[in-house]
Amino acid sequence: MDTARLQPFDMALVAAYLVSVVALGLWLTRGVRTGRDYFLAGRTLPWWAVGMSLVVSDIGAKDMVGLAADGYRYGLVMMNFDFIGCAFPVLAAAFLFMPFLWIAGVYTVPEYLGRRYNSVVRTFFALIWALFMMGTVGTILVSSAVMFEALLGWSFWWSVGITAVIVGVFTTTGGLKAVVLTDALSCVVLIVGASLICILGLQRTGGWEGLQSTIGRMDWTAHHFHLVLPADHPAFPWPAVLLGLGFVLGPAYWIGNQAIVQRTLGAGSQNQARASYVFCAVLKLVFPVLLVLPGLIGLALFYDKLGDPSQWEEGVANRVLPMLVVNLLPTGVLGIVVGAFMAGVVANLDSYINSASTLVVTDLYQPLVPRRSDKHYLRVGQSLVVVFLLAGVAFARIIQPVFGSVFEAFQTFMTFFQGPLLALLLLGMLTRRATSHGALAGMLLGVGTAVALNGARFALGREYSVSYLWVAWWSFAAAMAGTVVVSLFTRPYDVERLRGLVWWIPPREESSS
């Protein structure tokens, strides 16, 4: 196993980053007095910080390691996750969907669904997201521990402990403002670190031309320099990428994910929220290059050591990026890159914990325990951050031995709900005809379709397994169809009830002005 040895100068750089993040986070805890301060940063966040936070909430350390491995295995096609799967839905969200949530003055996406449809839909999606987020905290901790072990030879508990303490210190007291502004710092460190890997790697491969010619000589890399692969490609056929990723998973993530939406709701104004989304799209032009290119560089430089990915045993994929880091980076640069990894972990983790706390307080706790003081909900939110961190650490320990299958199970679990969630959001925001009965029917039909498609391989055999991109698309289509059909047979809502919740029916103040 290749592990890097940090020199004193590297350690000083890593320590400087960690101290800066904690100090900034603690400084920003001043002025948190109400639930609105804590959950939505008092709606004072600047667009540039929200934009950077959006990027690093999406890209964690596990993505850095995972995308390098997939870049090695599949090539440029992995960039689609940040191009068609991000730029397109982010811009659509900025100009079409975000204004609704902003004007509605909600804290969470399920809260919007509750107002638009009913409390059953709200509670259902709140529970699903809360479960997913709590599980995600555990998987982030395990994946960062795996990475630090591969990279630095750190033990599991040392990695988990240091990550949980750093994140817990400022997230518990500082809320969204501390999370977003420390994310902005982490984003800068991440960009610098990832850029250094790419620049030094390209120098070693003889530039872009050298990289292309080295990889082009291999007999299994015919599609490595194409974003759009043939429709019969086993992993990423273009129709599934376009429909499943571009039209369902991407929009569901950027429009319906609480960890994403909450940041834009904390912006200083609606224009600032829109600007933050657009800034995120600008940054996302660069990030796929920074994350996928190391995989191609690893393929060109270390194919003799890492070999053909079709023959990889478990764990080999995690070695692509550490191998580059250990073999390419000189003292000083190594410290910056390790700092970048930590930035990815911290930013990813604090985002999910903060959003999970907001979601549970707003959509599950408040409806059960109403009419308490704002201070009470603030304290519950802060306590939940600690609970989620401790639960995440415990969960990380439990799933560590079977991490690969648990991570996959979580991803599969989410594909059951992403399509139906997007269908309900789109129909709710864009049509006044969608009703709560329609929503419940669409939700059941969409989730049922996802379960059936995912279960096909268990019931009928492996040759009937369906790509998760197709599962997302067909569950979305089924949920749309179910909601539309049942809504047409049920009584529509009164226009006044939908004011400010549907695109064509603005709130009263705006309609009169």
């Binding site: 100009f95 320099f225 974003l227 056929p237 273009w238 429909l243």
Partner: protein, 78 residues
């Protein structure tokens, strides 16, 4: 649903000869439609304060830049 059927039929046709040319056109087409929408979207939907922004502070301008860049990326590397 009709659009879906057309897209899936197109996908099937493309898989027949293994060429992703149609796919490339589809990806570029999505961003081209987004570009048209950004260009012709009423200003009232964006400039809520009604103030004229310099180009470097105009979110519509930057959204158009991103969309054109994506069209270029898919044309070149598609």
């Amino acid at each position: 649903m009709k659009t879906t059927a057309l897209l899936l039929a197109a996908a099937g046709a493309a898989s027949g000869n293994g060429s992703p040319l149609l796919g490339k056109a589809a990806f570029v087409g999505v961003f081209a439609l987004l570009l048209l929408w950004l260009l012709f979207m009423p200003s009232a939907l964006i400039d809520l304060e009604g103030a004229r922004m310099p180009w470097w502070r105009n979110v519509r301008f930057w959204a158009i830049v991103v969309t054109i860049a994506q069209i270029g990326v898919y044309c070149y590397w598609g």
